[in-house]
Amino acid sequence: MDYEQVSIPEYDGDTYYNSYEDRYSDADMYEPPMPEIIKKFLLYFRNAINEGMVYEMQNLYENTFPKLSDQYFDKAPWPSDNEVRKIMDDDKTFLMLYKELYYRHIFARVPNGPSTRQRFGSFYNYCDLFNYIFTCETPVTLELPDQWLWELVDEFVYQFQSFTQFRSRPRKTQEEMDMLASNNEVWNVLLVLNVLHSFINKSNIKLQLEVTASGGDPDSVAGEFGRHSLYKMLGYYSMIGLLRLHSLFGDYYLAIKVLENIDMHKKNAYSSVPACHISTAYYVGFAYMMMRRYSDAIRTFSSILLYIQRTKQLFQTRSYQNDQINKQTDQMYTLLAMCLVLHPQCVDESIQQVLREKNYTDRMFKMQYGDLQEFENCFQMACPKFLSMDPAEDSVKEAVKYQTSVFMAEVKQQKMLPTIRSYLKLYTTLPINKLVTFMAQGQGQRESNEPTDDKENLTKHLLCFKHKMKNIVWNKGASGLDGSFHSGSELDFYIDRDMIHIADTKVAHRYGDFFIRKVLKFEELNRKLKSIKV
């Protein structure tokens, strides 16, 4: 893997296009004739794109395309580009966009997933599309809805992830192995990184965000390309793409650093796509958890889960987006539950309510009682699908195993803390020796007969408690990595000679929010009643 290979394979007009077409198209497959309605749809779709009708495009992209997919291509691919080319003149831009959807549909819906050829084909189509957008003197006139642009970048990273998993799969056919061996540049990690970095640079998005954060006009620094919505949004979504990519390799520091100048706590002009907003929070929260920044993880998860609770009706209709959102929501509740076991802290009442459901309370109960297997299960269910660049078979499985083991090492270090916490909660002052006795009873039998040993052991755990519960917490600053040491957990203590002094946080019930919501509901009802004409 040479660094020189990073540049995107050149797109030099027809020659390149055709040569790869020969190698990787599905042209030789039998294709049923295209239904009339599909023909009409494609021609209309193309027209909408060429005319720059963004709202119409959004409708066709988000509603019509999935609907037609359900109806006509439930478990089969859409017509190949060769078929599509027959019904319209050689519109390269439309065909590249169409093929992106075509491959994406294969990845999502066709049983047994994409063939190696299709993986390659999709890769080269991305190269063509990105070259078309990059390698021009002036910005291209293309305009696409934000939802599409987000899914374009997200899918690009997803297909890289899927390819890397595929490469490490055991029992590949000879043909598959030959194709992989002779095409090193396909889905190369450096190439993928380069694409994302190039979008970020071309759009000046970092500078734009910085200026926006300080109250200025982003257009003043955007440059010719960055002012264009297509480049600006691709730049922004590429930052989120990098967040995901770095997380997949366990690089949590860089994952958070990439998002500098994006204010996670405010909705901004860029957060119009819910799936993007939610996915960002998932990876950010996960990275914080791995860094032992539990307060930050809990804040990130709670705020996005509240957002999901409040906007749930908005995206209940679109099923293909909803699947992803629902899965990530469940993962985030699980991660939040884990963080709260490790770092008990007060969270919003409506979040607490979900965590009180049987599914989560059972797991939290087990984890609190030191069930390491439960921790491991929760982690593996909720973690991202980690990747490895090791070409060996099963290296991806190893990567998941390894990240799990790093997290579990942390959990084991904290194993005694919930027990100690449960005793401390009962007192305001407690002599160390008394706690030694409690701990020994709790364990059923003493591991050692010498009380001094027990005391030494317990002091160790108490020090560990203080160390683990004092972590970096963000409070202001452009980077999510900023912050200072705080003890954010609800129970704290200090030791004076042989006496433990305990400080607890007691939170009174909050009624304000509850009543405001009821008042608003009542008002709404009142308005409706008034508008009824009898």
């Binding site: 970020i200 520091y253 650093k257 683990k468 002094h501 009174a508 304000g512």
Partner: protein, 215 residues
Amino acid sequence: MAEAMRRTVASLLQGIERYNPQHLSTLEQYVEVQSQENIYDLEANLAVLKIYQFHHDYNLDITVQIMLKAITNFPHSDFVLCKCLLNEKLCQEAPLSQVLTLADLLENCNFKEFWYQVHAMPELYVKVNGFLDSVRKFVCHVIGITFQSVEKHFLMELLGGVDDAVLNQWMQKYNWKAVDNKYIFVSNQDENIKTKNITEKIDYENILGVMASCR
């Protein structure tokens, strides 16, 4: 010299250049400089591990130094961040495996065992200048957040069996005072660690909006 190097390296870490293996020798040299001069740059070290990870080829000596440097920055979780870029097989290789054991002892605040083990392998950290003192700094951090007053003998043991003179230096650094022969006063924890009762406060401004809309 170190400052100039820090700036050079920072410029190498911009954008896609960060993953360029051609910069590896400069970055590795910078790790050595960090060890010798007792300075620290997490981001540069993570970049080294990232290049190793992508090429699946780790220089064990440099990796060990990076991990030891991460220990010097306890209580920050840098060690975990670095560890996440390694892999299972590598972690079993000595002397990296020993470094991981040491870090685990520190995370558990099992200082007695840490000193016992670390004294038995002085060659492990010989390259990293100021390694033991940085661990003592971490010990003092944990003591500082835990104790109001602490037994002197216990403190000396936690610092790795230091004598009175050394103990006095650390006490001076953190402004700890001997109360009597047996105890050392650390700080007034009762000022910071107090039971909190959080009750709801609703200001007039908070409900102004609702009241206005409900006319």
